[in-house]
């Protein structure tokens, strides 16, 4: 019975001492996983000035809204080779997240929802033969006009869902890692 008491006291002593955490201040947390910047570059097939759509949110989940910029207009009927890049500009040096998404391709997919500004075709594949969307082909509509484009990065979507490999977000599920909206013009 004495042993039991000693054991109990020892347990208390151990837990008491093991708890003494040092209050070392290691500086602010740099949110390394956060996406601050989405850039979609549309390079005209056969050459020309690329159109760059960019959304930057330099305070991450902070109160400031993202700053959206569109470098120019699309040309009606023209084909563009597209690439999407994701950055964390809060990290020092600036962190390129695109590679991570490529590596975990089976767990990510990028969707392009728009108001009829043309057609988007995926030109990349993950290990299971499903698209990721980091590179794509865009053909502008032949009818000039203003439109809207939403680029969404989904984490853990159901990539074999109905029409999901064709870019339909409705049955994809998963959770949204980034979602940016651009006003674009086709002239």
């Amino acid at each position: 019975m004495k042993n039991f008491r000693i054991l109990a006291l020892a347990l208390i002593t151990i837990t008491t001492f093991s708890s003494c955490s040092s209050d070392n201040d290691s500086g602010p947390v740099n949110e390394e996983e956060v996406i601050t910047t989405v850039a979609a570059t549309f390079t005209p097939v056969g050459g020309g000035t690329p159109v760059v759509l960019m959304s930057r949110d330099l305070d991450g989940d902070g109160p400031d809204a993202p700053v959206v910029s569109v470098s120019g207009n699309f040309t009606a009927g023209r084909a563009y080779e597209g690439a999407v890049n994701f950055l964390n500009e809060l990290a020092n040096p600036v962190e390129e997240i695109t590679g991570e998404i490529q590596e975990e391709g089976t767990q990510h997919q990028i969707f392009f929802q728009h108001s009829g500004i043309g057609t988007f075709t995926y030109t990349d594949e993950d290990a299971n033969g499903h698209p990721i969307g980091l590179s794509f082909l865009y053909t502008a509509t032949t009818t000039p006009g203003a439109g809207s484009l939403t680029i969404t990065l989904r984490h853990q979507p159901n990539k074999s869902g109905e029409n999901v490999p064709e870019g339909n977000i409705a049955n994809a599920g998963g959770s949204t890692d980034a979602q940016v909206n651009f006003s674009v013009v086709v002239e």
Binding site: M1, F4, R5, A8, L9, L11, I12, T15, T16, S19, S21, D23, D25, S26, P28, V29, N30, E31, E32, E33, I35, T37, S55, R56, D57, L58, D59, G60, D61, G62, P63, D64, A65, P66, I97, E100, E103, E104, F112, Q113, H114, S115, G116, I117, S148, L149, T150, H155, Q156, N158, N171, A172, G173, G174, S175, T176, D177, A178, Q179, N181
Partner: protein, 791 residues
Amino acid sequence: MRIYILLLALLAGNGCAYSQHIISGNVAAPQNKPLDGAHIHIEKLHGVSAPDGHYELDNVPSGHQRVVISYIGYKTMDTLVDVIADVVLDAVLKPESTQLEEVVLSENNAVPKNTVHEQRLKTETIEKYSNASLGDALKEIAGVYSLKTGSTIVKPVINGLHSNRVPIISNNVRLEDQQWGTEHAPNLDINTAGKVAVIKGASALQYGGDAIGGLVLVEPVSVLKDTLFGRTIMTADYNGRGGTLSSALHQGNDKGWAWNANGTFKYMGDRQTPDYVLSNTGNRETNFAGDVKYIGNTYDASVSYSFYNATIGIAKETHIGNVADLVRAINNGQPDVVEPFTYTIGAPRQEVLHHLAKANFNKQLDNDSSLSLQYAFQLNNRKEYDLRRGDFANIPALDLTLATHSVNADWKQEKDNTTLKAGLSGSAQFNDASPDTGIRPLIPTYDKYDAGVYGIASHSFSETLSGEAGLRYDFSHMSATKYYQKTRWNSLGYNGVFDRFITADYGSQWLTNPEFTYHNISASLGIRKKFSADIDLLANAGLAMRNPNPSELFSDGLHHSNGTIELGNLGIKKERALKLSGTLLKTGGAFRFEATPYLNAIHDFIYLSPTAVEYTIRGTFPVYNYRQDNVLMAGLDLHTDWDITKRFRHSFNFAYVHADNTTKDEPLIDMPPLNISNTIRYTTDWQSLFLELRSEAIFRQTRYPNNDFYADVPVNGVLTPTLVNISTPPPGYHLLHFISGMQFSLGKTLASVNFSINNIFNTAYRDYLNRQRLYTDDIGRNFQLQVKLNY
């Protein structure tokens, strides 16, 4: 069974075989406390002891007589006396150990001074929930609801209030970590509880002055007789396809060494709704609790230690990215993706570790007074894992280590008709929010020091009237280390207001050291009036003050489980509550009831309220700010028990609360809806077989504030303002449960087998106070088999 008889004396007389004699004597509890109203009987003769403990039985025939002396709460003395002349038989009754038996209410004492009504769970109820949680079991008490995140994170709601308005006192130690928000359930294994009681209202000043909603008291099994016994409960569940094994051993003693040990192991897989599997909702627990006690003549000393280790899966469906995902989840009505059943627990999940060690010393100072000293240490580590990318997949999104040291000294004196209690308490708490998570912590690193002093006096004015008054003072100081994004600091309006807290500049962030000091006064006043042998009226008024907790002051970030940005407020003040409540109690007869109406006026009630929408690169999010308004709550809890016949018994629970935000003139958010339960139980003598049918009716909450908002959701690529319906409560529902059980003797072992069906009709439902109600149904039918062995 050993009965201690202080004195057994036979007085010589001229014996005559057919003559009649008198048996007389005194009945007392240990330390010569006379027992008033003890029952003494010899066959059909019976008598009752006087207030000084004296009794007398006349006309006792000569011969071998069996004398039985009993008093509620004490071991019955049963002895044989050779009556050849008048006999003096004094008895000292030992307090009854209450484990494994129905609990004896303290109000049954002849002149109760306690003006606060405690509602307790029966041992059978505690054991029934061996595989569930404290929050589930407490729901059997009228007026206690449960606030859930899924099916395993459950915390009690007393009269509409929860979290740090309802402290949980386990083994006389205030449980830390459960006070922050809905996802922090009490870190407690219900299998270690010998007694679970609820005190509604702010009248339990001994435990703190901030119990605005009420208090849950959990005490371990305590054995006051020389014995060794144990218990094992095995539970197997169909829904979740798992079970629990819980085993306990108790070595009791009236003097000398005594110890208890209890271990529990739980293993459950994904739960199921009537229509689909709830992916990632398994859980597992490994718990241990033990204590060693030495009981001397005038003192006892004990050390105890408990360990709680749980891994809890959070339904995958509830992890969302932004408001568009939330709208999708609400409109779909069921999860996007349902995966096959598995025991594997992925992300999101919680891993919680809680150590509690305690040393306690009680000293009987003299016949009337006692002193109790206690030191307790708690260490809580909480890791919350989220669905993360890349190298972060196995790094928790939140990693908090909370260490709490507390000391208490309590003095008690019971003299004549007055009981005095006084005490001091102090605690030091250190929270460490690990920066290695790569996510700004919702709750920062902080140090907190508390000190309190209280005094309570209870007095019996007459046989039927008693009163109680108490006063408490608390001091609290908190110092936190918190980084603020400068943009956030400015948008919250802190610039120029809280500049004194800033200690360093880290480019885009401020390092701050907010410090707060509070002085609180709490008080209680109660009376108890006995109208007849079994009808009592209790009335209480309580003033309580609660300081804002770290989450209310400092929260700053995105909550992935509900897609909201939560923002604390450095300007939040403490809240003050005045609660008036009454209890009408009928304790005897075939029909018993308790009715508890109450009124709770809370000044500067702290709550979360949506205020704006924020745009980030993830999309839009509603912003919830902590705000303060005045609140008025009025409610009624009703419980009845009716022995219809010897075999049939009916129980009824009713609870309704009507709560308003009087500042904004609208209903208060997250109030439990009207709920009614009816239980009918049939018992037989054959193997103690019982059959029970329980109906649970939860009505729709019709009183709620409309916090719906419009957010821009892409529709065909165009951002379209869309209504986000987060306010409307789900429809009411009705569930039917069946429970049955019987007992067998296996040599010296008493075995019980219970079989139950929860949600017999596999009803699909959602509960207003379940945080996952926007995403999924609650769990469906469950078959449970439980085997209990008492040895």
